[in-house]
Amino acid sequence: MSMLTAVPPVVVLLAVAIVVSQLPRRAGHAVGVLVPALAVLWAVMVPEGAHLQTQFLGFDAVLLNVDPFSRLMGIIFGLIAAVAVLYSYASEADTTQTGYALSYVATSFGAVFAGDWLTLIFFWELMAVTSTLLVWHYGGKAVRAGFRYALLHGLGGTLLMAAILRHYVEVETFLFASVPGGPETAGITSGLAAALAAIGIGVNVGFIGLHAWLPDTYPRPHIAASVFLCVFTTKTGVYGMYRAFPNGHEAIAYMGGGMAVFGALFALFQNDMRRLLSYHIQSQVGYMVAGVGIGSALSQAGAFAHVFNHILYKGLLFMTAGVVIYRTGTESLKKLGGLWREMPITAGAFSIAALSIAGFPGFNGFVSKGIIISGSHYTFGKGPLPLGEFYTLEWLLLLGGVGTFMSFIKFGYYAFFHGEYDGSVPDANRLQSVAMVSVAALCVIYGVYDTALFAILPFDVTSEAVVHHVYKTYTIPHLIEGVVLAVLGLIGFAVTKKPLSKLGRVPDIDSVYNPALFYGFRGLVVGVTELYAAVDRAVVQTTGIVTRTVTSPNDVIARLRDDDTLVHPMRAGIGLSILILAVFVTVALLALS
């Protein structure tokens, strides 16, 4: 057992990342698949409550902290990382990129297995760095997007850091409540620290208004890099949100509901495949944020179940979109169509993933989304706008589900089923197929055998002792709900298909703040440069004057000389003298009284 807890996984994985980047392509990727797979095994085996306490920058730190939450994150992170490395190999990614990707995976492990805020923020910031490197590695348009990504995450990380410092001032320790020596109450201190933490983490999970980096960054890098990116940053954000708000918060719950609707709506407007999927990350993370925000055991179990499932189907979706791009070289849905004949495996994998994300009965999304919606109904308030039986947050989440159906019907329709594809393209290559089919199988397995999922959740949703309302996946009303959402989605797509096809690019919040930031910073830079130049000129002139005064003082004195025979400008006449006197006395009297 001591073998398992001797070193935190991040150390091993970082070493592996370096090794992979140096090895030949085939061997490197083999190691890259094997080690995350072993990490899954490790995450399953490692005993709960294991701690690795140390000193970090002179503070108590816990580099390893195993509880059901971090275990679940470890299992799914390792799983998807192994598949994604396989997919990378199949999609002709080079070992440098896979090395960056694995370092990103490693820092994510560091973050989710951290037992204190200091370690968490340390790896949180490193994740921002490694993911930025992963984006930059592709070059081209990805570089500028990477800059914007890094800037926003730097800002978010700084806010979280401020929150953590504020928290430290209050409780005088960075440790989590669950580790030995930790504070009495879990979560971040309420008040300013909580507000800062919510916004700082909000950048990572894509709060509305802070989300623009998602659709901006994720469509730009290599197709395999997108598979990594879509998993780690946002899900670690959900995990962090839970650590900061273990009892939830109403505002966060409603923000989650808003994100579910907003993301799905904006996804509908997109034609770039990966951009559409990126908006769906925001939408799906909205469900998880809502689950964390509701704060009950049921909803939080749902949130983490959704993290688990989402990583599977969203990874699969990015893989299928990647294969389409890989084979056709086209990113836009408008230029695709009829591909199901050309690439049936990809079309099949996509269908499974789409049904999963939309929450159709029989697929894993149906299970986890159902838990959250159940939580929003049974363990959360009615909210300001209940519609009949449906509570405010509940119908927001359901509406997001309809939007999800609509946009995936759109994706599938335009990419695979609409019209004929001109020419012939091969289907996914063998290893891509292996990667996709295995994940697709998991989506179905966890949908059908929901007890397998329930077993790894932090709270047992089937036990009345644990949750307020026992959850059962396959009930008649729940099945009806799933089918109704699908039908509504179909109808909705049929109605909006025409207007949507005529819609151009819909501006998001970043079309406001990118120019604002750009011109603001340009103004700042120009101002600073000009100020520097002005100071420089002044210094040079002063130096010149001093030099002249020192080297040829007589010239300077001659220039200043008050020639007796001339009327000198500095010599005051009678009138001016009286004026000076009057002003002087006035000023003196004003100053005195």
Partner: protein, 497 residues
């Protein structure tokens, strides 16, 4: 007789001044002997008074037998005795200069003695309104003396002096009115007790009175930026007058300012109203720096010396405003020392001009060999003014700096130390010109143009005055302990009460 000394000091020059005016109807030559006789007597009386004060303390005298606070009181303590003696000695010394340098008219000596009467009156009076009267007498006599030069520029300078000086004196009178309104008295000692009791130090009435009186006197002292009359007046007046008024008029005005601070408003006022002290100190510091800067930029030596006074009086006022015993002793020493040095310097410029025609800094080039004695005296006086030990200029500055250090007034310490460098900046230039530069003026002395036309020859008396001034600038250092003792006996208790 002894008890009448203070009033005799004022009466004697007034009476003496009337004689040359009347005698000028008969002969123009009567003026000088009468004035000399009067001032020899005056010097004797002043010396006697100073000796009395130093041996038996402050002397006071009720004019006409009307007792203070209703009658006019004359009060002579160590500070006023020293200034009165200075006035007498310097006016007698300048007469030796005037014997040859002129102007040679009866009315000139009448005004001359009237100025002495005014200055002495300002020095010995213990009454704020009486001070105004003597201030005006001093002013009117000084305007007349400046105008006695034959140039049009002298008349213009005198007019400028008259207008600005009169406005300044009027402001002072206004302030006296406010004080009278606040306390109902004009006697200085009485005011000192009633201010603070009858009217709070920080009441608008008292503050306004302070502002107006200090503002008015600042014009007379010629601190920057109210100095504008002074360079014109000093540079355009006849040399005799330049030497006389540069040595005494601003000096006695600065004395009056100190008298107001210590004997009317008192140190308690400065403590209660820190802004007043800071305003004075700030004004003094600005004056030190600005005066030096203006002095450096001058071409005419006499104007340069005039701006130098602006700077040096900044130093004196700073010392008085800091108002610790050390600083006050230092300011007094510098006040008296500056009078001797500045008078000597102006007298020296007159001699050099008469002998060589040089009036500008460049004109002074190489004059060290042409007029060795005067040039040497000029150099000694310059270095004394800069503050080279053991000259009296050093002692005064030293005490002021010590006082500022004691008061922990570091910005002022910095300005004071910098002022030495600034003073060096313009005097070193002159000394360098005198001794280390090629001559630019080669004409013979008798062909040299003389601006005031009151005779071109240089008498032994003129050179003697310059030399004695230079000697005094060094020797007076020896008198500092005596002065310090007298001040500690008579003035310092007022500071600490």
């Amino acid at each position: 007789m002894i008890e009448h000394l203070p009033v005799l000091l004022v009466v004697l020059p007034i009476v003496g001044g009337a004689i040359p005016l009347a005698a000028s109807l008969v002969s123009d030559r009567a003026g000088w002997p009468v004035a000399t006789l009067t001032l020899v007597g005056q010097t004797g009386l002043a010396g006697l008074l100073a000796w009395t004060v130093s041996s038996s303390g402050t002397v006071s005298y009720a004019v006409g037998g009307f007792a203070a606070p209703y009658g006019i009181e004359l009060v002579v303590d160590g500070l006023s005795a020293a200034v009165a003696l200075l006035v007498a000695v310097i006016s007698l010394g300048v007469l030796a200069y005037a014997r040859k340098a002129g102007p040679h008219s009866g009315p000139f000596y009448g005004l001359y003695l009237l100025l002495v009467a005014g200055l002495t009156g300002m020095t010995v009076t213990g009454d704020v309104f009486n001070l105004y009267v003597f201030l005006e007498i001093t002013g009117l006599a000084a305007y007349g003396l400046v105008a006695s030069g034959r140039d049009a520029s002298a008349a213009v300078a005198a007019l400028k002096y008259l207008i600005i000086g009169t406005v300044g004196a009027s402001l002072y009178l206004l302030g006296v009115g406010y004080l009278l309104a606040a306390t109902g008295t004009l006697n200085m000692a009485d005011l000192a007790t009633k201010l603070g009791e009858m009217a709070a130090y920080d009441s608008t009435l008292v503050l306004t009175a302070f502002g107006l009186m200090v503002g008015g006197l600042t014009v007379k002292v010629a601190l920057f930026p109210l100095h504008t009359w002074q360079p014109d007046a000093y540079a355009n007046a006849p040399d005799t007058v330049s030497a006389f008024i540069s040595a005494l008029v601003s000096t006695v005005s600065a004395y009056a300012l100190a008298r107001l601070l210590f004997s009317v408003f008192t140190v308690d006022f400065l403590t209660a109203v820190p802004v007043a002290r800071w305003a004075l100190v700030g004004l003094a510091c600005v004056s030190i720096v600005a005066g030096s800067a203006l002095a450096v930029s001058q071409d005419s030596v006499q104007r340069m010396l005039a701006y130098s006074s602006v700077s040096q009086f900044g130093l004196v006022v700073a010392g008085f405003a800091i108002a610790t015993p050390l600083a006050v002793v230092g300011a007094t020493v510098h006040l008296l020392g500056h009078a001797v040095m500045k008078g000597g310097l102006f007298a020296a410029t007159g001699v050099i001009e008469r002998k060589t025609g040089a009036t500008t800094v460049n004109g002074y080039a190489g004059m060290g060999s042409r007029v060795p004695v005067s040039a040497f005296a000029f150099a000694v006086l310059s270095l004394a003014m800069v503050g080279v030990p053991p000259a009296v200029g050093f002692v005064g500055k030293w005490y002021i700096v010590l006082g500022a250090v004691n008061a922990e007034n570091w910005p002022v310490v910095a300005v004071l130390l910098a002022s030495t460098l600034l003073t060096l900046a313009y005097f070193a230039r002159l000394v360098e010109r005198l001794y280390f530069a090629e001559a630019t003026i080669h004409s013979k002395p008798d062909e040299a143009p003389v601006t005031d036309g009151s005779g071109q020859a240089v008498s032994f008396g003129m050179i003697a005055v310059v030399v004695i001034a230079a000697a005094l600038a060094v020797v007076l250092t020896a008198a500092v302990p005596t002065l310090e003792h007298v001040l500690r006996e008579t003035l310092i208790p007022v500071l600490n009460q």
